[in-house]
């Protein structure tokens, strides 16, 4: 199976990762090889085809802009512009 550059970019977007062009190329090749290996699962699965048992938890993966996030920001105990401010949880003195 081959994985197109567009698909790699879409997966990266869903995973909240930013890939360089070199990384897109390398991951595309590696994932295609790994997925080809994983495709052997077909030999061990039952009668159900990929389309016959869609899960109810499956949703369309559509990238959308963050847009206005109104009420969570308004309800936040502390905020700065469009951001919720949270207490610092990492140590000040880096070990």
């Amino acid at each position: 199976m081959s994985i197109s550059a567009d698909e790699i970019r879409k997966i990266a977007l869903l995973a909240k990762l930013e890939l360089s062009a070199d990384e897109e190329r390398a991951y595309g090749q590696q994932l295609a090889r790994i997925v080809a290996y994983i495709d052997q699962l077909e030999l061990f699965s039952g009668e159900e085809g990929p389309e016959s048992a869609a899960s109810p938890c499956e949703a369309e993966d559509v990238a959308e802009p963050l847009g206005e996030i109104g009420w969570p920001i308004d309800n936040a105990p502390d905020r700065l512009d469009r951001f919720v401010l949270i207490p610092q949880v990492k140590a000040a003195d880096r070990g």
């Binding site: 994985i3 698909e7 790699i8 879409k10 997966i11 990266a12 869903l14 995973a15 909240k16 990762l17 930013e18 890939l19 990384e23 991951y27 590696q30 994932l31 090889r33 790994i34 997925v35 290996y37 994983i38 052997q40 699962l41 077909e42 030999l43 061990f44 699965s45 039952g46 159900e48 990929p50 389309e51 048992a53 869609a54 899960s55 499956e58 949703a59 369309e60 993966d61 963050l66 469009r82 951001f83 949270i86 949880v89 990492k90 140590a91 880096r94 070990g95």
Partner: protein, 492 residues
């Protein structure tokens, strides 16, 4: 006469309990050994020598006052860098957790301390436990104490190397698809992955929650049994931890395996034919040792086991891609300084913070969960996993244990498989089945290959039959005879 750092954990505990050895002496010996060799091996990412010295001195004072010492009295123990200790840095071998300090202590660390073990520091690991060579750490690559140009295995490579090199008498690792057993095997140590739910995971950073288990790495089977007795048992803070109380893992340890039935998998025969000659010889010699100890070896069939690696790399990476979504630059550790909005903060923090292998696995998991591929990959993998579990339990109706090699090769060269992730994944071929089925499994050194590198036999048992598993491991260890340690003469 053996140096103190060469003693097994059980022997150190016995001597400290009897007052024949001070905990501070045991610690000093391990620290001196680490000072001599760890600059070359690089098992530790950080040590807490002040805290360890205070704990050892306190134990010595309590023993001097006539108090009874705990099960692991004075044993220097190393823990993997994905186990929380309140106030300590916790990085999982990753830049993304840079600066993060754990706000609470893992149950396993509390139990070690309650048993009077001395926790000496945190060991290197493949980033977020993703790897089979310990080369994926953002800090440095750990080296195999048997030969420094070889990997120690992974992901708990630092823990295995610490035990093998004598810098710690016992170590904790975590095992998702083999990450305790595989490095133990490559480093000539004993590695135990307990039944899913046997040991609390409270305080363990999650990789794939359906499979993650904490397990001990030790130099003997008795030490693994001793450690399991301390670590196992219910924990109200981990809802996945079994209610069942721990068994007595020590009392039957020397009872032998006469009359037990050991299964070998028909489906792996083809793979076994591809093994390097000395690995195959060690495998057949291992079976002969089990027979000489009184067990019978019989063939069993688990057809779906041939898909174990494929199933594992789908399901584990799907879970990893969701578990690691929390590392977003807002709540933990590293935050990219260069961002214009929140979305970019997430993307840049994750992209700059995660290493190559973690990103690859997040991509693979995200792909398998994405619309249009979910059923073809995740759904199908879960279905095959269920089938494999059922087949394994059917096989266990006919046998008491199942044996395989732990690993298909001895330790490979550092860098040898870095550019070929699939080849790296395939080194988990024998360890993933027990992970997928939640079964306990034990790696025991079986000998050395022609170049002097350790090889290993794996035994699997039914759920919660760790006592039987350890008994069989001990019988195998006895039949094998003395194994020895790497000398590290070139650096010590």
């Amino acid at each position: 006469m053996a140096e103190t750092w060469e003693l097994a954990a059980a022997e150190i505990a016995r001597r400290v309990q009897r007052g024949e050895l001070r905990a501070t002496e045991a610690l000093a010996s391990a620290v001196a050994r680490a000072h001599a060799v760890d600059g070359a091996v690089r098992a530790f990412v950080r040590r807490d020598l002040d805290g360890a010295e205070r704990a050892a001195a306190d134990l010595d004072h309590r023993i001097a006052r006539g108090e009874r010492a705990g099960t692991l009295a004075g044993v220097p123990v190393a823990i993997k860098d994905n186990l929380s200790v309140a106030g300590w840095p916790l990085t999982c071998g990753s830049r993304v957790l840079d600066g993060y300090r754990a706000p609470y202590t893992a149950t396993v660390v509390e139990r070690l301390r309650a048993a009077d073990a001395i926790v000496v520091g945190q060991t290197n690991m493949d980033e977020f436990a993703m790897g089979s060579s310990c080369e994926n750490s953002s800090f440095f690559a750990t080296r195999n104490p048997w030969r420094l140009d070889r990997v120690p295995g992974g992901s708990s490579g630092g823990s295995a190397a610490a035990v093998a090199s004598g810098s710690a008498s016992l170590a904790l690792g975590s095992d998702t698809g083999g990450s305790v057993r595989q490095p133990a095997a490559l480093c000539g140590a004993v590695g135990l992955k307990p039944t899913y739910g046997r040991i609390s995971r409270y305080g363990l950073v999650a990789f794939a929650s359906s499979f993650d288990q904490i397990g001990p790495i030790s130099s003997t089977v008795e030490d693994a049994a001793l450690a399991l007795g301390v670590l196992a048992g219910p924990d109200s803070r981990d809802s996945t931890c079994a209610e069942r109380p721990p068994d007595d893992y020590l009392s039957g340890l020397e009872r032998g395996i006469a009359g037990l039935r050991v299964g070998v998998l028909r489906e792996l025969e083809g793979d076994l034919g591809q093994l390097p000659a000395d690995v195959a010889e060690a495998w057949h010699a291992g079976l002969a040792r089990l027979e000489s100890a009184g067990a019978s070896v019989v063939e069993v069939s688990v057809p779906a086991i041939q898909a174990a690696v494929a199933v594992y790399y789908v399901v584990a990476n799907c879970e990893a891609s969701t578990n690691l979504a929390r590392f977003d630059g807002v709540r933990y550790g590293y935050r990219s300084p260069d961002h214009r909005d929140l979305d970019e903060l997430y993307r840049k923090s994750r992209s700059e913070g995660f290493g190559r292998e973690v990103k690859r696995r997040i991509m693979l998991g995200t792909f398998a969960l994405s619309s249009g591929y979910y059923q073809a990959y995740y759904g199908r993998a879960v279905s095959v996993m269920r089938r494999m579990r059922a087949e394994l339990m059917t096989a266990f109706a006919a046998v008491d244990l199942i044996a395989t090699p732990t690993i298909p090769t001895a330790a490979f060269r550092i860098g040898e498989k870095v550019s070929d992730p699939l080849a790296m994944y395939l080194s988990d071929v024998y360890t993933t089945p027990a992970s997928l089925a939640g079964l306990p499994a034990l790696a025991v050194p079986s000998g050395l290959d022609r170049s002097g590198l350790p090889l290993s036999l794996q035994l699997m048992a039914r759920p919660f039959e760790e006592a039987l598993l350890l008994r069989a491991g001990r019988a195998f260890e006895r039949a094998r005879g003395s194994f020895g340690r790497p000398t590290l003469a070139e650096v010590a």
